[in-house]
């Protein structure tokens, strides 16, 4: 278990959004992890949230009016890492 080799990644337009989203998702009982945005997605120093692939956090974020910049699926396997954009 854990959000290491396969997870979905929420990317935000601002750190404030990331922090607000963290609070909301944690309150709702989601298993999440605050991480820096992967360098392959953007070179700036943003914050992102890893969520379980089985969870769907988009609805709750929308209800709370938190905008996301992107939603990605990340799969790591030894030397290979795949980052697939799921939604804008």
């Amino acid at each position: 278990m854990g959000l290491n080799n396969e997870y979905n990644l929420l990317v935000f337009n601002s750190t404030h959004h990331a922090l607000a989203a963290e609070g909301i998702l944690q309150k709702q009982g989601y298993k999440i992890m605050m991480v820096p945005v992967l360098a392959e997605i953007t070179a700036d120093c943003g914050m992102a949230i890893r969520v379980n692939t089985k969870d769907n956090p988009l609805e709750i974020l929308r209800e709370n009016k938190i905008e996301i910049a992107g939603y990605y699926q990340v799969i790591k396997d030894k030397l290979e890492k795949r980052i697939i954009r799921l939604k804008k």
């Binding site: 854990g2 290491n4 750190t15 990331a18 922090l19 963290e22 992890m33 605050m34 991480v35 820096p36 392959e40 997605i41 914050m47 030397l79 290979e80 890492k81 795949r82 980052i83 697939i84 954009r85």
Partner: protein, 188 residues
């Protein structure tokens, strides 16, 4: 990083161009717009024992290819650094931000090469291996990968957190000073 744009090229040109470019550079960003070409370039990268990261956005693909002989060599140098962490938040400023940054920092320690040799928590830094749940998980993974994680005993005692320490071990000032004196230290 060197960039190679093979969009619009017909197979097997993307593979050939990537192979050529990799002869000249250790790290390469390849832009593609064709799924088959993307698969083939990934196959090539794997065959060459490279580390490859795919960023897929609709029909746009970006591959970051890194030669691993480079990565492995770096690891062989052994002797990761000693991280001396003396606050529970990263940097000066708003606490909320500093707390989030620290979580991100600890999670990223898992991805660096070489891994840290040792992480020392002192003063309010000891709140990280005791109260910061996300960081605790990552520290546990670091311990499992051979990183030494230690917390200052006097500090744990002062904050009433000794019982809460679940990752790493308790250390004293002698050991801490010894580590700082002999290792390559990064202070936070």
């Amino acid at each position: 990083m060197k960039e190679l744009d093979v969009r619009g090229m017909i197979c097997p040109k993307p593979v050939i161009e990537t192979k050529k470019a990799l002869e000249k550079s250790d790290k390469l960003l390849v832009l593609l717009d064709d799924q088959v070409a993307k698969d083939n370039v990934m196959k090539l990268a794997k065959k060459l024992n490279c580390q490859v990261t795919l960023l897929e956005d609709g029909n746009e693909y970006q591959l970051t290819i890194k030669k691993t002989d480079m990565v492995v060599e770096k690891q062989d140098e052994s002797g990761g650094k000693v991280y001396f962490i003396s606050t529970d938040t990263l940097g000066k400023g708003e606490e909320e931000l500093g707390y989030a940054l620290m979580k991100g920092f600890v999670s990223t320690l898992l991805e660096i090469n070489p891994l840290p040799a040792k992480i020392i928590f002192i003063n309010s830094g000891v709140k990280i291996p005791t109260l910061n749940q996300q960081a605790q998980e990552h520290l546990q993974q670091l311990v499992e990968q051979g990183v030494e994680v230690v917390s200052c005993g006097a500090c744990l005692n002062y904050y009433g957190l000794t019982e809460k320490l679940e990752v790493g071990s308790i250390t004293n000032m002698y050991e801490i000073v010894e580590s700082l004196n002999t290792g390559e230290v990064v202070s936070l």
